[in-house]
Protein backbone atom coordinates (compact mmCIF):
# COMPACT_ATOMS: atom_id res chain seq x y z
CA UNK A 1 0.00 0.00 0.00
CA UNK A 2 1.36 3.43 -0.92
CA UNK A 3 0.28 6.63 0.88
CA UNK A 4 0.95 10.03 -0.69
CA UNK A 5 0.40 12.85 1.81
CA UNK A 6 0.71 16.38 0.45
CA UNK A 7 1.46 19.80 1.94
CA UNK A 8 2.67 20.47 5.48
CA UNK A 9 2.38 17.80 8.18
CA UNK A 10 2.21 20.00 11.24
CA UNK A 11 0.11 20.50 14.37
CA UNK A 12 -2.97 21.20 12.25
CA UNK A 13 -2.67 18.13 10.03
CA UNK A 14 -0.78 15.51 12.03
CA UNK A 15 -3.93 13.98 13.55
CA UNK A 16 -5.36 13.22 10.10
CA UNK A 17 -1.96 11.87 9.03
CA UNK A 18 -1.90 9.67 12.13
CA UNK A 19 -5.41 8.35 11.44
CA UNK A 20 -4.59 7.39 7.84
CA UNK A 21 -1.29 5.82 8.80
CA UNK A 22 -2.72 3.79 11.68
CA UNK A 23 -5.59 2.50 9.56
CA UNK A 24 -3.12 1.46 6.88
CA UNK A 25 -0.67 -0.43 9.09
CA UNK A 26 -3.36 -2.09 11.23
CA UNK A 27 -3.87 -5.14 9.02
CA UNK A 28 -1.52 -7.98 9.88
CA UNK A 29 1.53 -8.33 7.68
CA UNK A 30 0.86 -5.21 5.58
CA UNK A 31 3.71 -3.37 3.90
CA UNK A 32 3.06 0.38 3.86
CA UNK A 33 5.13 2.90 1.92
CA UNK A 34 4.73 6.62 2.56
CA UNK A 35 5.72 8.69 -0.47
CA UNK A 36 6.83 12.12 0.80
CA UNK A 37 7.37 13.71 -2.62
CA UNK A 38 4.44 16.08 -2.00
CA UNK A 39 5.33 16.99 1.59
CA UNK A 40 6.93 20.40 2.18
CA UNK A 41 7.48 20.12 5.93
CA UNK A 42 6.96 17.68 8.80
CA UNK A 43 6.91 18.79 12.45
CA UNK A 44 7.61 16.73 15.55
CA UNK A 45 3.87 15.95 15.73
CA UNK A 46 4.06 14.40 12.25
CA UNK A 47 7.20 12.47 13.16
CA UNK A 48 5.47 11.19 16.29
CA UNK A 49 2.61 9.94 14.12
CA UNK A 50 5.15 8.13 11.98
CA UNK A 51 6.76 6.60 15.06
CA UNK A 52 3.42 5.42 16.42
CA UNK A 53 2.61 3.83 13.05
CA UNK A 54 6.04 2.20 12.95
CA UNK A 55 5.41 0.58 16.34
CA UNK A 56 1.92 -0.50 15.27
CA UNK A 57 3.32 -1.96 12.07
CA UNK A 58 5.97 -3.95 13.94
CA UNK A 59 3.35 -5.26 16.35
CA UNK A 60 1.27 -6.44 13.38
CA UNK A 61 4.33 -8.05 11.73
CA UNK A 62 4.07 -5.49 8.96
CA UNK A 63 6.61 -3.14 7.41
CA UNK A 64 6.65 0.62 7.12
CA UNK A 65 9.02 2.66 4.99
CA UNK A 66 9.23 6.13 3.50
CA UNK A 67 10.50 7.37 0.16
CA UNK A 68 11.10 10.42 -2.00
CA UNK A 69 11.84 12.86 0.80
CA UNK A 70 11.94 16.46 -0.39
CA UNK A 71 15.19 18.28 0.54
CA UNK A 72 13.69 20.05 3.57
CA UNK A 73 11.95 16.92 4.84
CA UNK A 74 15.17 14.97 4.40
CA UNK A 75 16.97 17.58 6.50
CA UNK A 76 14.35 17.21 9.22
CA UNK A 77 14.68 13.42 9.13
CA UNK A 78 18.44 13.82 9.52
CA UNK A 79 18.25 16.43 12.29
CA UNK A 80 15.72 14.39 14.26
CA UNK A 81 17.68 11.15 13.54
CA UNK A 82 14.49 9.58 12.15
CA UNK A 83 16.59 8.19 9.33
CA UNK A 84 17.88 5.69 11.91
CA UNK A 85 14.50 4.47 13.11
CA UNK A 86 12.41 4.43 9.91
CA UNK A 87 13.51 2.84 6.64
CA UNK A 88 14.17 5.56 4.08
CA UNK A 89 14.44 4.86 0.33
CA UNK A 90 15.49 7.26 -2.41
CA UNK A 91 12.82 6.17 -4.91
CA UNK A 92 9.47 4.35 -4.78
CA UNK A 93 10.91 1.63 -7.05
CA UNK A 94 13.72 0.88 -4.58
CA UNK A 95 11.26 0.88 -1.70
CA UNK A 96 8.75 -1.40 -3.39
CA UNK A 97 11.51 -3.82 -4.38
CA UNK A 98 12.73 -3.96 -0.78
CA UNK A 99 9.28 -4.23 0.74
CA UNK A 100 8.27 -6.94 -1.70
Amino acid sequence: MVLRPVGRINNDTSAAFQTRLSASVAAAGTAVLVDFSGVEYISSAGLRALMVASKQSKAAQGRLAVTSLTPVVKEIFDISRFSYVVQVFETPAEALAALG
Binding site: N11, S14, A15, Y41, S43, S44, A45, L47, R48, M51, V72, E75, I76, D78, I79, S80, R81, F82, Y84, V85
Partner: protein, 317 residues
Protein backbone atom coordinates in the same frame (compact mmCIF):
# COMPACT_ATOMS: atom_id res chain seq x y z
CA UNK B 1 20.81 39.44 35.32
CA UNK B 2 23.80 37.39 34.30
CA UNK B 3 23.93 33.61 33.89
CA UNK B 4 27.03 31.55 34.58
CA UNK B 5 27.02 27.89 33.62
CA UNK B 6 29.13 25.76 35.96
CA UNK B 7 27.87 22.34 34.87
CA UNK B 8 25.97 21.49 31.70
CA UNK B 9 26.24 17.73 31.30
CA UNK B 10 23.29 15.42 31.87
CA UNK B 11 23.05 12.28 33.98
CA UNK B 12 26.76 11.82 34.72
CA UNK B 13 29.91 13.95 34.65
CA UNK B 14 31.87 13.29 31.46
CA UNK B 15 35.48 14.52 31.66
CA UNK B 16 37.66 14.75 28.56
CA UNK B 17 40.01 11.83 28.06
CA UNK B 18 43.46 11.58 26.55
CA UNK B 19 42.15 10.64 23.11
CA UNK B 20 39.82 13.64 22.98
CA UNK B 21 42.61 16.09 23.90
CA UNK B 22 44.96 14.63 21.30
CA UNK B 23 42.21 14.86 18.69
CA UNK B 24 41.72 18.56 19.48
CA UNK B 25 45.47 19.25 19.20
CA UNK B 26 45.56 17.45 15.88
CA UNK B 27 42.57 19.38 14.53
CA UNK B 28 44.05 22.68 15.71
CA UNK B 29 47.33 21.91 13.97
CA UNK B 30 45.49 21.03 10.79
CA UNK B 31 43.59 24.32 10.99
CA UNK B 32 46.87 26.19 11.51
CA UNK B 33 48.39 25.04 8.24
CA UNK B 34 49.20 27.99 6.03
CA UNK B 35 48.57 30.53 8.79
CA UNK B 36 51.28 32.96 9.90
CA UNK B 37 51.39 32.38 13.67
CA UNK B 38 54.67 34.04 14.51
CA UNK B 39 53.68 35.98 17.62
CA UNK B 40 51.50 35.38 20.64
CA UNK B 41 48.82 37.84 19.49
CA UNK B 42 48.38 35.99 16.20
CA UNK B 43 48.21 32.72 18.10
CA UNK B 44 45.62 34.11 20.52
CA UNK B 45 43.49 35.33 17.60
CA UNK B 46 43.77 31.96 15.91
CA UNK B 47 42.80 30.04 19.07
CA UNK B 48 39.86 32.39 19.60
CA UNK B 49 38.58 31.67 16.09
CA UNK B 50 38.61 27.89 16.59
CA UNK B 51 35.25 26.21 17.18
CA UNK B 52 34.52 25.02 20.72
CA UNK B 53 35.05 21.41 19.66
CA UNK B 54 38.68 22.21 18.74
CA UNK B 55 39.76 25.24 20.79
CA UNK B 56 37.75 24.42 23.92
CA UNK B 57 35.21 21.99 25.29
CA UNK B 58 31.57 21.95 26.30
CA UNK B 59 32.80 20.50 29.59
CA UNK B 60 31.84 17.55 31.65
CA UNK B 61 30.37 18.74 34.95
CA UNK B 62 26.74 17.96 35.77
CA UNK B 63 23.99 20.54 36.28
CA UNK B 64 24.73 23.83 38.02
CA UNK B 65 23.81 27.31 36.80
CA UNK B 66 24.41 30.55 38.67
CA UNK B 67 22.00 33.46 38.35
CA UNK B 68 23.62 36.77 39.18
CA UNK B 69 21.20 39.58 39.92
CA UNK B 70 19.63 38.80 43.28
CA UNK B 71 20.89 40.08 46.61
CA UNK B 72 22.72 36.79 47.33
CA UNK B 73 24.36 33.95 45.49
CA UNK B 74 21.70 32.06 43.54
CA UNK B 75 22.21 28.73 41.82
CA UNK B 76 20.06 26.13 40.12
CA UNK B 77 20.97 22.56 41.05
CA UNK B 78 23.98 21.19 42.85
CA UNK B 79 25.51 18.86 40.27
CA UNK B 80 29.25 18.39 40.10
CA UNK B 81 29.58 21.92 38.67
CA UNK B 82 28.77 23.25 42.16
CA UNK B 83 32.25 22.25 43.32
CA UNK B 84 34.00 24.80 41.14
CA UNK B 85 31.32 27.43 41.81
CA UNK B 86 31.81 27.02 45.57
CA UNK B 87 35.58 27.14 45.33
CA UNK B 88 35.29 30.34 43.30
CA UNK B 89 33.18 32.00 45.98
CA UNK B 90 35.62 31.02 48.73
CA UNK B 91 38.56 32.23 46.64
CA UNK B 92 36.83 35.56 46.01
CA UNK B 93 35.75 36.38 49.57
CA UNK B 94 38.01 34.17 51.68
CA UNK B 95 36.64 31.66 54.18
CA UNK B 96 36.25 34.24 56.98
CA UNK B 97 33.47 36.30 55.39
CA UNK B 98 30.07 34.59 55.69
CA UNK B 99 28.01 34.30 52.53
CA UNK B 100 24.38 33.52 51.83
CA UNK B 101 23.27 31.11 49.11
CA UNK B 102 19.88 30.36 47.59
CA UNK B 103 19.73 27.03 45.78
CA UNK B 104 16.82 25.94 43.59
CA UNK B 105 16.63 22.21 42.94
CA UNK B 106 15.00 20.73 39.85
CA UNK B 107 14.86 17.36 41.57
CA UNK B 108 16.86 14.99 43.71
CA UNK B 109 18.41 12.64 41.19
CA UNK B 110 22.05 12.11 41.88
CA UNK B 111 23.51 14.16 39.04
CA UNK B 112 21.70 17.22 40.42
CA UNK B 113 22.91 16.97 44.02
CA UNK B 114 26.26 15.13 43.75
CA UNK B 115 28.28 18.35 43.96
CA UNK B 116 27.09 19.23 47.44
CA UNK B 117 29.53 17.03 49.41
CA UNK B 118 32.30 18.93 47.58
CA UNK B 119 30.71 22.36 47.95
CA UNK B 120 33.30 24.06 50.14
CA UNK B 121 30.98 26.81 51.52
CA UNK B 122 28.91 24.07 53.19
CA UNK B 123 31.87 23.31 55.48
CA UNK B 124 32.36 26.91 56.65
CA UNK B 125 30.53 28.07 59.81
CA UNK B 126 28.67 31.33 59.30
CA UNK B 127 27.58 30.59 55.75
CA UNK B 128 23.84 30.18 55.22
CA UNK B 129 22.63 27.83 52.48
CA UNK B 130 18.91 27.76 51.77
CA UNK B 131 17.96 24.87 49.50
CA UNK B 132 14.62 25.46 47.79
CA UNK B 133 12.57 22.84 45.99
CA UNK B 134 9.17 21.23 45.72
CA UNK B 135 10.10 17.73 46.88
CA UNK B 136 9.21 16.81 50.44
CA UNK B 137 12.27 14.59 50.89
CA UNK B 138 15.05 17.07 50.12
CA UNK B 139 16.73 16.78 53.51
CA UNK B 140 16.52 12.99 53.47
CA UNK B 141 18.17 12.86 50.03
CA UNK B 142 21.04 15.10 51.13
CA UNK B 143 21.55 13.18 54.39
CA UNK B 144 21.55 9.84 52.61
CA UNK B 145 24.06 11.06 50.05
CA UNK B 146 26.47 11.93 52.87
CA UNK B 147 25.98 8.92 55.06
CA UNK B 148 28.20 5.94 55.75
CA UNK B 149 29.42 4.03 53.73
CA UNK B 150 28.90 6.37 50.74
CA UNK B 151 30.76 9.43 52.05
CA UNK B 152 33.12 10.03 54.97
CA UNK B 153 31.67 13.36 56.19
CA UNK B 154 28.18 13.13 57.64
CA UNK B 155 25.71 15.79 56.50
CA UNK B 156 25.12 16.82 60.14
CA UNK B 157 28.83 17.60 60.52
CA UNK B 158 28.74 20.40 57.95
CA UNK B 159 29.60 23.78 59.46
CA UNK B 160 27.25 26.03 57.48
CA UNK B 161 23.64 26.66 58.46
CA UNK B 162 21.68 24.61 55.93
CA UNK B 163 17.94 25.05 55.55
CA UNK B 164 15.46 23.31 53.28
CA UNK B 165 12.58 25.42 51.98
CA UNK B 166 9.64 23.72 50.30
CA UNK B 167 8.03 25.75 47.53
CA UNK B 168 4.59 25.34 46.01
CA UNK B 169 4.42 24.73 42.24
CA UNK B 170 2.66 27.56 40.43
CA UNK B 171 3.09 30.06 43.27
CA UNK B 172 5.42 32.98 42.70
CA UNK B 173 7.59 34.00 45.64
CA UNK B 174 10.12 36.78 46.10
CA UNK B 175 13.44 35.53 47.38
CA UNK B 176 16.31 37.93 48.01
CA UNK B 177 15.54 40.22 45.11
CA UNK B 178 14.34 37.66 42.57
CA UNK B 179 10.80 36.62 41.77
CA UNK B 180 10.69 32.84 41.46
CA UNK B 181 7.89 30.67 40.14
CA UNK B 182 8.31 26.87 40.22
CA UNK B 183 6.35 24.58 37.91
CA UNK B 184 5.87 20.83 37.74
CA UNK B 185 7.60 18.84 35.00
CA UNK B 186 7.33 15.31 33.60
CA UNK B 187 10.22 13.24 34.96
CA UNK B 188 10.53 10.07 37.06
CA UNK B 189 9.69 11.14 40.63
CA UNK B 190 8.73 14.60 39.27
CA UNK B 191 11.01 17.49 38.55
CA UNK B 192 10.41 21.24 38.71
CA UNK B 193 11.37 24.10 36.46
CA UNK B 194 11.78 27.69 37.67
CA UNK B 195 11.02 31.04 36.14
CA UNK B 196 13.18 33.80 37.59
CA UNK B 197 12.20 37.42 36.99
CA UNK B 198 13.68 40.76 37.86
CA UNK B 199 13.19 44.25 36.44
CA UNK B 200 11.24 43.06 33.41
CA UNK B 201 13.70 40.33 32.49
CA UNK B 202 13.07 36.62 32.92
CA UNK B 203 15.07 33.42 32.80
CA UNK B 204 13.56 29.94 32.76
CA UNK B 205 15.50 26.95 34.04
CA UNK B 206 13.81 23.81 32.75
CA UNK B 207 15.86 20.66 32.88
CA UNK B 208 14.97 16.98 33.18
CA UNK B 209 11.57 17.24 31.57
CA UNK B 210 10.11 14.98 28.92
CA UNK B 211 7.58 16.77 26.74
CA UNK B 212 4.99 14.30 25.50
CA UNK B 213 2.46 16.45 23.66
CA UNK B 214 0.89 14.85 20.60
CA UNK B 215 -0.02 18.21 19.15
CA UNK B 216 1.70 21.41 20.23
CA UNK B 217 -0.56 24.42 20.73
CA UNK B 218 -0.82 27.52 22.90
CA UNK B 219 -2.83 25.40 25.34
CA UNK B 220 0.19 23.29 26.27
CA UNK B 221 1.07 24.57 29.79
CA UNK B 222 4.78 24.98 29.09
CA UNK B 223 4.05 27.55 26.42
CA UNK B 224 2.77 29.70 29.28
CA UNK B 225 5.64 28.82 31.64
CA UNK B 226 8.19 29.79 28.98
CA UNK B 227 6.17 32.66 27.47
CA UNK B 228 8.33 35.58 26.35
CA UNK B 229 11.34 34.48 28.39
CA UNK B 230 14.57 36.27 27.67
CA UNK B 231 16.49 33.04 28.19
CA UNK B 232 15.19 29.46 28.27
CA UNK B 233 17.60 26.81 29.58
CA UNK B 234 16.17 23.60 28.16
CA UNK B 235 16.87 19.87 28.51
CA UNK B 236 17.69 18.86 24.92
CA UNK B 237 19.53 15.68 25.82
CA UNK B 238 18.29 13.38 23.06
CA UNK B 239 17.42 13.41 19.40
CA UNK B 240 13.68 13.39 18.75
CA UNK B 241 13.92 9.83 17.40
CA UNK B 242 15.57 8.65 20.63
CA UNK B 243 13.14 10.63 22.78
CA UNK B 244 10.07 8.96 21.34
CA UNK B 245 11.41 5.49 20.63
CA UNK B 246 14.14 3.73 22.59
CA UNK B 247 14.39 6.39 25.32
CA UNK B 248 10.70 7.14 25.69
CA UNK B 249 9.80 7.71 29.35
CA UNK B 250 13.44 8.29 30.30
CA UNK B 251 12.44 11.83 31.24
CA UNK B 252 14.26 14.03 28.74
CA UNK B 253 13.55 16.00 25.59
CA UNK B 254 15.14 16.90 22.28
CA UNK B 255 16.47 19.84 20.29
CA UNK B 256 13.51 19.61 17.91
CA UNK B 257 11.06 19.89 20.81
CA UNK B 258 13.15 22.75 22.20
CA UNK B 259 12.85 24.82 19.03
CA UNK B 260 9.13 24.19 18.53
CA UNK B 261 8.33 25.12 22.13
CA UNK B 262 10.68 28.12 22.24
CA UNK B 263 9.30 29.58 19.02
CA UNK B 264 5.69 29.05 20.03
CA UNK B 265 6.39 30.62 23.44
CA UNK B 266 8.20 33.55 21.80
CA UNK B 267 11.41 32.93 23.73
CA UNK B 268 14.31 35.19 22.79
CA UNK B 269 17.30 33.00 23.59
CA UNK B 270 17.21 29.19 23.74
CA UNK B 271 20.07 27.44 25.55
CA UNK B 272 20.48 23.71 24.89
CA UNK B 273 21.38 22.08 28.19
CA UNK B 274 21.82 18.75 30.05
CA UNK B 275 23.98 17.27 27.30
CA UNK B 276 24.05 13.53 26.70
CA UNK B 277 27.32 12.32 28.34
CA UNK B 278 27.96 10.00 25.39
CA UNK B 279 28.26 12.96 22.99
CA UNK B 280 31.69 14.42 22.35
CA UNK B 281 32.34 18.08 21.58
CA UNK B 282 32.08 17.58 17.82
CA UNK B 283 28.68 15.96 18.15
CA UNK B 284 27.43 18.78 20.39
CA UNK B 285 28.64 21.30 17.82
CA UNK B 286 26.86 19.41 15.04
CA UNK B 287 23.66 19.33 17.09
CA UNK B 288 23.88 23.08 17.67
CA UNK B 289 24.22 23.75 13.93
CA UNK B 290 21.32 21.39 13.17
CA UNK B 291 19.14 23.01 15.81
CA UNK B 292 19.74 26.47 14.36
CA UNK B 293 18.89 25.09 10.93
CA UNK B 294 15.65 23.55 12.21
CA UNK B 295 14.62 26.90 13.71
CA UNK B 296 15.29 28.51 10.33
CA UNK B 297 13.19 25.88 8.53
CA UNK B 298 10.30 26.11 10.99
CA UNK B 299 9.94 29.88 11.34
CA UNK B 300 12.49 31.74 9.23
CA UNK B 301 11.12 35.17 10.15
CA UNK B 302 11.26 34.60 13.92
CA UNK B 303 14.33 35.82 15.77
CA UNK B 304 15.55 33.08 18.12
CA UNK B 305 19.13 33.00 19.36
CA UNK B 306 20.29 29.45 20.04
CA UNK B 307 23.33 28.54 22.14
CA UNK B 308 24.63 25.24 23.35
CA UNK B 309 25.59 25.57 27.01
CA UNK B 310 29.14 24.82 28.05
CA UNK B 311 30.87 24.87 31.41
CA UNK B 312 32.11 28.45 31.75
CA UNK B 313 29.52 30.05 29.47
CA UNK B 314 28.20 33.45 30.60
CA UNK B 315 25.06 35.06 29.20
CA UNK B 316 24.03 38.63 30.00
CA UNK B 317 20.25 38.98 30.20
Amino acid sequence: MLLRFWGTRGSLPAPLNDRAVRSKIRDALLAARGRLLDDSQAIDRFVHELPVSVGGTYGGDSSCVEIVGGDTYTICDLGSGAREFGNGVVAKHGPGKPQRFNVFLSHLHWDHIMGFPFFTPAYIPGNVIRIHGCHKVMREAFERQQSDPCFPVDFRALGATIEFVELEPGRTVEIDGLQVRPFLQNHAGDSYGYRFSKAGKSVVYSTDCEHKFEVLSELYPFVGFFGGADVLIFDAMYSLADQISMKEDWGHSSNITAVELAQLADVKHLVLYHHEPVYDDKMLETILAETRRYAEILRPQQQLTITSAYDGLEIAV
